[in-house]
């Protein structure tokens, strides 16, 4: 994520679920991140394995994740170099190397230790130019080709007519503590609403505005307005940000295919049409009537 919140990307995402990544820090002198890989749904006090990750091979390559420590017993790694990490464990401050070997530097008398930070000046990170405009209320999504991506066997070019834009609604209150829930058992934990549809161009591209700072996701609709493929996660754009996608569920290291590069969108984005999807009790998304407006 850029400092202004734009360009956010999740490592592994739905491709390789499992574990919780916490308290990431850049590793000086490398392109790596050091963080806590906490097993399961995460352990108390952000405890877990000390781990490193490099973005060189893209966000979905599991070989980029290196588990440094042998036990899930550490907190708050602070890298000093690619081979030295200050870490906390219980009431101890330790120095760990890249092989997971550690030595105790300090043992407190009865107090736990967290978040070790060397009190030494360090180079300021390079500044990233803002890619958002706080004065705007929307951002833009530019999609190169809806036919690029996984699970598209049997779908011919021209089959996709519209792109349905949905929003995951905020959940301002929660009445249950796991298990069955009133919204949906085993399917979803949030309510959705339809923001509208955007047309798919002949070359498979689409460009449309979405409200900023919302959790939005998409579905591809055929000529019967039935879903061909639906996104199961979400994206968020900052005000004025333009987010570009190569395809839908495509490998995230893929660039647009050659015949599409000359067709990339450079014009005015569509505003999703909130009246373009008819309410249908049998519809695949069960969106019902009473759809709110765009923003």
């Amino acid at each position: 994520m850029n400092p202004d919140g734009s360009g956010s990307m999740v490592y592994f995402g739905n491709m390789h679920p499992g574990g919780v990544f916490l308290d990431a820090q850049p590793v000086p002198g490398s392109d790596q991140l050091a963080f806590i890989h906490s097993p399961g749904h995460g352990m108390n006090e952000h405890t877990g394995f000390v781990a490193t990750l490099t973005p060189k091979r893209g966000p979905d390559d599991r070989s980029s994740l290196v588990q440094v420590s042998r036990e899930a017993a550490y907190r708050d790694p602070y890298p000093i170099s690619p081979s030295e990490f200050l870490v906390a464990r219980g009431n101890q401050l330790l120095l760990m190397d890249a092989e997971g070997r550690s030595e105790v530097l300090f043992t407190s008398s009865g107090l736990d230790i967290q978040e070790p930070r060397p009190l030494v000046p360090r180079p300021r990170p390079p500044q990233v130019a803002p890619r958002s405009d706080p004065a705007q209320s929307t951002g833009t999504v530019v999609l190169a080709d809806v036919y690029t991506g996984r699970a598209m066997a049997g779908v011919k070019r021209g089959d996709v007519k519209k792109l349905l834009v949905l929003e995951d609604l905020p959940k301002p209150v929660n009445f249950h503590g796991g298990g069955a829930q009133p919204i949906g058992h085993g399917v979803t934990s949030t309510l959705k609403r339809v923001l509208g549809t955007a047309p798919i161009e002949a070359d498979g591209s689409a460009a449309f505005e979405v409200p900023a700072l919302r959790s939005v996701h998409f579905a591809l609709l055929d000529d019967k307005e039935q879903s061909i493929k639906q996104m199961r996660s979400f994206v968020t754009v900052q005000p004025g940000e333009t987010m570009r996608c190569v395809g839908c569920h495509e490998p995230r290291v893929r660039s647009p295919s050659g015949h599409l590069r000359g067709h990339l969108w450079s014009g005015v984005p569509h505003q999703p049409d909130p009246s373009a999807v008819e309410p249908d009790a049998h519809g695949p998304l069960g969106q019902g009537s009473g759809r709110p407006g765009l923003v």
Binding site: N44, E115, V120
Partner: protein
Amino acid sequence: MAVAAAPFHGDVVGNLPTDAVAVVVSRRHVANRDATAVLQEDAARVVAVEVFVVRPIAVQSQALDADVGDILAVEQGEETRDLRLPLQPKILPQRAIQFEAIATAGPWDDVEGAYLPDGDLVFCSTRARRYIGCWLASTATRSASITSGR
């Protein structure tokens, strides 16, 4: 708000990789973190410890700017957690520091503050009123930069 120094003891086993290391300390087995402590070596390679205990609220997390001029702290109040910044920029060798609330107090938690490369601050907040999908815990989402008002 005044911050008092208090004694803090421990056993030194190894040498610190830098002259001083700031840590957050807490009582065992609780999520309540109590104070920022500074571990420091002298010429005889003995770690001296200064602890900055904030009364009546406690330090929840901390972040240092690149020049180590400021320590950004999140403090636990009676009901909410708020970002606070020391007014006096140099924590060493002073024995007391002043904290000032820098985020608007309210019925929410402001947590996990960090310095951006341009010196602005970014933090997470529960002011967006979001709950995780399957449990009773509220979640903090990325919130605005403070100094620029973004």
